[in-house]
Subunit: 87 residues, 2 copies
């Protein structure tokens, strides 16, 4: 089963990387970018077929390791069932 | 308009960060993780309402700045129209 975990800075936490990329895009003429935040995405291939259980385990992984609860928030998505590898 | 850009290492390019996270998860008992790759997600708020045009501009931004064409691949997603900010 494939899953994606998004880890992003909480609203209100300064994102210097995002600000730098936004400024660089403006310098290249992309003035339509009003806001830009940079986060992480983890793409996982998991053993097992129970989507609900996988979702719960992934949330637990985020709380225990993948996200910093002080500065970050996370979202878990099960992308598809089946045996394909993570791209 | 909100958009997401995923930037990930190409298949076949070693991902030491992903390997380290996978090993740490295994150490915590999450042995169901068979593969794990870490990428970036950029969440953008864009001015304008033309989805097709925005998609084209975002792909151009990726080619010019956001992704390294040698090691990385990218995907562009328009998440929604409307005036909400990027979370």
């Amino acid at each position: 089963m494939r899953a994606r975990v998004f880890v992003r800075l909480k609203r209100g936490i300064l994102d210097p990387q995002g600000a730098a990329v936004k400024r660089a895009l403006e310098g290249l003429g992309y003035r339509e970018v009003q806001e830009l935040r940079v986060g992480k995405v983890l793409e996982l291939e998991l053993e097992g077929t129970d989507r609900g259980q996988a979702h719960g385990r992934l949330e637990e992984m985020c709380r225990r390791l993948l996200a910093n609860p002080v500065t970050e928030e996370f979202t878990v998505e099960i992308v598809e069932d089946g045996a394909r590898g993570v791209r």
